[in-house]
């Protein structure tokens, strides 16, 4: 977080090229994301949205190009970059043998910050206060998704990566996400999300990034 204290937050991707097998998922992908703005990654199934997001988080490997966080190459300070991002992917990262409360406590342990976080308000916010002490294996898919989303509310992490955040959520869940994203952007956060459904984040600027099927 040292870099982010002095430099304005920004994510910049330059000439990113990603191949999987003999398929080129993107080439010369260049974009800039400033504080308070979001990118909506769109495209048909199998076009590489998940792969792109995984590459941006650092989980996946890019074949060419660079990702800069606040002007610095992300490889220069991996720990700083990891402390600055949150990722909710297809795998929820929720242990079915643990309750939502226990899952959230583990997520707190994995945060960079060491300030204590109150779990109960977060559970109320994601609407799981009544299920807080049931094993996640007994909860519905939507409720598991909400447990995963609770990770985003544990502290201030500036850059969010959300891969199909709306999966298995009900309408209340969709407005929960919209509210969370708006609050995040209002606080100067950045977000990259992939979704087939439109998300209304007005008045915040949302760029669309459309990945083609087989380029």
């Amino acid at each position: 977080m040292t870099a982010s204290a002095t430099v304005p937050l920004s994510l910049s991707v330059q000439q990113l090229e990603i191949w999987r097998g003999d398929r080129c998922l993107c080439r010369d992908l260049t974009f800039q994301l400033a504080a308070g703005a979001a990118i909506h990654v769109q495209g048909p199934n199998g076009c590489g949205k998940t792969t792109l997001i995984r590459v941006l988080t650092g989980l996946g490997r890019a074949d060419d190009g660079e990702v800069r966080w606040c002007g610095y190459l992300r490889e220069e300070d991996k720990a700083d970059y990891r402390a600055a991002i949150a990722y909710v992917g297809h795998g929820n990262g929720v242990k079915l043998g643990l309750t939502p409360r226990e899952n959230i406590e583990v997520a707190i342990a994995l945060l960079a910050q060491s300030t204590p976080v109150a779990v109960d308000p977060v559970l109320v916010r994601v609407g799981l206060e009544r299920q807080a002490d049931l094993p996640c294996g007994m909860l519905s898919m939507g409720q598991r998704r909400r447990t995963a989303l609770a990770r985003l509310l544990l502290g201030y992490v500036p850059l969010w990566f959300l891969d199909e955040p709306l999966t298995s959520l009900d309408t209340a869940g969709v407005s929960l996400i919209t509210g969370m994203l708006k609050q995040h952007l209002a606080g100067g956060g950045l977000a990259v999300f992939a979704s087939h459904q439109p998300l209304d984040l007005r008045p915040f600027p949302v760029q669309s990034l459309i990945l083609g099927a087989a380029a």
Binding site: T57, L59, G60, I85, G89, N92, V94, K95, L96, P135
Partner: protein, 221 residues
């Protein structure tokens, strides 16, 4: 404190799936208990075979469940979160293996004198049996975890893990069984025990890096 929360998580999960967790220990008890029935009730024969039987059973019991060490974390996305967290993956991996050993390996070591008695292993050498297993089984766990990390992303990797890992475990098996056999004959066991201890130090130092690298590679695709 952060790491304590992760250890607590692993212990809690193990406690909630205690049936699965107990499988290696039950396997160890079954195999060692069946040998006297299948071979002969002759004490002299069983006493000679005891070190080999106990060590082979402990090695194979250790392999059970090794494959699933990171599997559920891989499938439910927890591994991605661990990789992306600022907490050192090497340290997390080491703690995971040690917790796994604590709930599967340690009960096996504790039960081993009982099983050794069934095989007429001399009571005077029990201390050395326990010492050799205490030094050897964590090495087996660490080696198994390297294989588990490398194969976590593969479907149907059931037999691949033992094939990868068994050659590496042979030295532990040789020196562990040797120490146990020497102890039962009243011979000095310092040499094989020191070698086991050296292997443990080596595995504790290097395996976490290999495990973390394996996990990173497995998640890259």
């Amino acid at each position: 404190m952060k790491l304590a929360a992760l250890v607590r998580r692993d212990l809690l999960l193990a406690y909630r799936r205690r049936g699965d967790v107990a499988t290696p220990v039950i396997f160890f008890v079954m195999v060692t208990a069946l040998f006297p029935l299948a071979l002969s009730p002759e004490p002299a024969l069983l006493r000679t075979l005891a070190p080999g039987v106990i060590w082979v059973a402990a090695l194979l019991a250790g392999l059970i469940g090794q494959g699933s060490l990171f599997k559920s974390d891989y499938e439910d996305g927890t591994l991605e979160q661990l990789l992306l967290s600022p907490v050192s993956l090497e340290l997390v991996a080491l703690l995971r293996v040690l917790t796994h050993w604590l709930v599967t390996g340690l009960p096996l070591v504790i039960l081993s004198p009982l099983m050794a008695m069934l095989l007429f292993y001399p009571a005077s050498a029990m201390g050395m049996l326990i010492a050799s297993l205490l030094l050897g089984t964590p090495v087996l766990s660490l080696l198994g975890a390297v294989g588990a990390a490398l194969t976590v992303g593969l479907r149907r990797s059931g037999l691949l893990l033992p094939i990868l890992i068994l050659p590496l475990t042979v030295p532990v098996l040789i020196f562990g069984a040797r120490a146990t056999a020497l102890a039962s004959q009243g011979e000095p066991v310092a040499a094989p025990l020191y070698l086991l201890a050296a292997m443990l130090v080596l595995a504790l130092t290097l395996a976490p890096f290999a495990i973390a690298a394996g996990l990173r590679v497995s998640l890259e695709s």
